[in-house]
């Protein structure tokens, strides 16, 4: 694992995030927009729900036959003049990329957005080899200037405000006039466009990710809105694609089904602006395009997820809808999760990839409200899988002693319904009595995590179970 994980400190990270005023302001910008746009796009297409079923089934079918589709895909890539590099670990993948760059004597590498690159920690590996990696997605470029990792899988700089971006541009773009005006997003964009245009034209190697790989044709697909991925892969002499095993889909028809749910789920667009299908290097009579085409195909624990209770996670097409709809993500942002993938999909995937001992807190960072599953375009049962991780964490005695004894105490009462009803009745009555005057508690022993941020309402009337029994009798 090449990216340093702070997932073990999730609680501390979350605490800091809740007190970070700039972060909370930035998160305010994203709490409603993504949700409204997705809902609108879904409502406009009558077949949307049926397409989600279709997308789920295509990914399921592909995973069940993944070995054979990989072989077919590799054959097609080779036939079209490209190369597939199978890599078990991030270290192997970094070595493969470095070998390709070194063979070309590369000094500068432009990069389109790739989460696999983050998994590999590729930018560090390139820098150590004296190769300069330049992120070209606007959000990725901004966070690279800040030495950060993405806080969102499709909006990497969603945690920042424009004033922070302005400060970074002024700090780094020292060749530009000091008195220039950079207060509006459009001025920031124009400046980045100008700076990066020179980089695109100067790069020796272009590295992109892949949203899909097509077995039928040996094709890789990137989906972007900016066009940075296309400039990255078209202008240099070498195009390297970073992808993980589960990006495979069988045919062009299958990918069309997935494309119909991807952008709608992600940004609420019918289609992203640029969906680019790349197959091999430039052809003999082509006047542009790369001379070499490489696919670095990373496993990093995915092959072991097949056939088990986390296989469904491999259907993920990285749209970001789960985090866009997650109340926990909305509260703490992406960095608190401490590794490459935040939000609900990260809470399930991260323990698989870096270990539940390091990432055990993440599956607990959920209210189990179920919104993530309700919007997932490939219908991944995210809450169910978070529960699987909690069970494993408990079984491996990774949960803290206080938590375990609390749970044991609760289990004792829960198994004796009469005792449970009695105890809750007493507890509720006591709380109701103490909270009678103001109707709420400003602080409670053992519940500071709740009452520091909001009041705890005092119970009113009898317990739910008591009301249930009474009203059932009345009917």
């Amino acid at each position: 694992m090449s990216v340093h994980a702070t997932s073990p400190q999730f609680k501390e990270n979350a605490h800091e995030a809740l007190h970070d005023a700039a972060l909370q302001k930035a998160l305010n910008n994203m709490r409603t927009g993504f949700i409204e746009r997705r809902a609108l796009a879904a409502a406009e297409l009558p077949e949307f729900e049926a397409l989600r079923d279709s997308a789920r089934d295509i990914k399921k079918h592909t995973l069940q036959h993944l070995d054979l589709y990989l072989e077919a895909y590799e054959k097609k890539v080779t036939e079209s003049g490209g190369h597939v590099h199978f890599c078990r670990t991030p270290a192997e993948a970094n070595a493969a990329v470095l070998a390709i760059c070194k063979a070309r004597g590369a000094r500068t590498v432009t990069k389109g957005k790739s989460m696999i690159s983050e998994e590999m920690g590729l930018n560090d590996a390139l820098s150590r080899a004296a190769i300069n990696p330049v992120e070209t997605d606007l959000g990725e470029y901004i966070i690279q200037l800040r030495g950060e990792i993405p806080s969102h899988i499709i909006a990497p700089a969603v945690h920042l405000n424009k004033e922070q971006v302005e400060a970074d541009f002024r700090r780094v773009h020292t060749h530009l006039p000091k008195d220039r005006v950079l207060t509006e997003p459009t001025q920031l964009l124009t400046e980045a466009r100008g700076v990066l245009r020179e980089r695109f034209l100067a790069a020796d190697v272009g590295i992109t990710g892949a949203n899909f790989l097509i077995a039928e044709t040996g094709t890789s697909i990137i989906v972007t809105n900016e066009g940075n991925g296309d400039l990255t892969q078209t202008l240099p002499k070498v195009h390297i694609v970073l992808a993980s095993l589960e990006k495979l889909v069988p045919t062009l028809e299958d990918v069309s089904q997935l494309l119909r749910v991807l952008a709608r789920s992600a940004t609420g667009q019918d289609m992203s602006v640029y969906t680019t299908l790349s197959t091999g290097p430039r052809r003999p009579d082509d006047v542009d395009g790369p001379e070499e085409y490489h696919v670095v195909l990373l496993d990093n624990g995915r092959s072991a997820m097949l056939g088990g209770e986390f296989e469904d996670m491999l259907r993920c097409i990285r749209c970001g809808a789960c985090m866009n709809h997650c109340p926990v993500y909305h509260a703490v942002g992406g960095h608190a999760y401490g590794w490459v993938y935040p939000g609900p999909m990260g809470a399930v995937l991260t323990p698989s990839l870096i270990g539940v001992d390091k990432a055990g807190h993440l599956p607990n960072a959920s209210t189990f409200c179920g919104r993530c599953e309700s919007v997932c375009p490939v219908r991944i049962p995210l809450p169910k899988m978070m529960r699987h991780w909690r069970e494993r964490e408990f079984a491996r005695h990774l949960t803290p002693a206080a938590f375990r004894s609390g749970l044991r105490l609760w289990a004792f009462f829960a198994k004796c319904p009469a005792l449970y009803r009695f105890a809750t009745r007493i507890g509720m009555a006591a709380l109701a009595l103490f909270g009678k005057r103001s109707g709420r508690f400003k602080s409670l022993p053992l519940a500071g995590g709740w009452t520091d941020f909001r009041d705890m309402p005092a119970p009113q009337g009898p317990t739910f179970q008591a009301r249930w029994t009474k009203e059932k009798r009345a009917r």
Binding site: N29, P46, F86, R193, T276, L277
Partner: protein, 226 residues
Amino acid sequence: MTSARDDILANIRRSLGVTGAEAPRRSNVATRLENAPRGLIPARGQIDPTARVALFREQAERAQASVMEVARRADVPGEVARFLRDRNLPATIRIGADSRLAGMQWGETALEVSAGRSNGGDPNAVSHAFGGVAESGTLAMLSGPDNPTTLNFLPDNHIVVVAASDIAGDYETVWTRLREQVGKGTMPRTVNLITGPSRSADIEQTLLLGAHGPRTLHIIIVGESV
């Protein structure tokens, strides 16, 4: 030491509980790759050709492209000149070797025309699309000397000509046509599906046009739809 490739395939097979030699699995895969069955196609694009062109136009405009319909191929140079003039853009264009474009009477306009790939200095480019997709207002562009990929991304303003008869309702119809042209299982180096001009919302979720690719996309639809 076994190769990473063999290791990974063996791992997958161990996890799935298969050997890779099972005939039913192999035939599932071979059949799907061979037949490429169509999935669910939205009803939206399954309409008569005239309505299809109208839907394409509506969807492309929703994605912030501008669209003009002209009756004949011969009208294209005049429309390109008008578009550039109206927007106060330089009267220069770059085109590829596509005979449908190269054969046009550019001399009847005041446009300065250069040919070949772009190296970044061109304000405007004109390309010919392979087809269009009405359901999302998407253009399908093929790489090659006729329409170099650099023309789709480097110039500030991209003008794309598409024949009304090449506008399909859905992506699947475009793939069928592409297979007829280049053969099943093969592809041009690049197929660009383009829906509107370049944009980014990476700064405070504010949508801005012209991130790295063209700031404007102008589509000229040529001819009747049948």
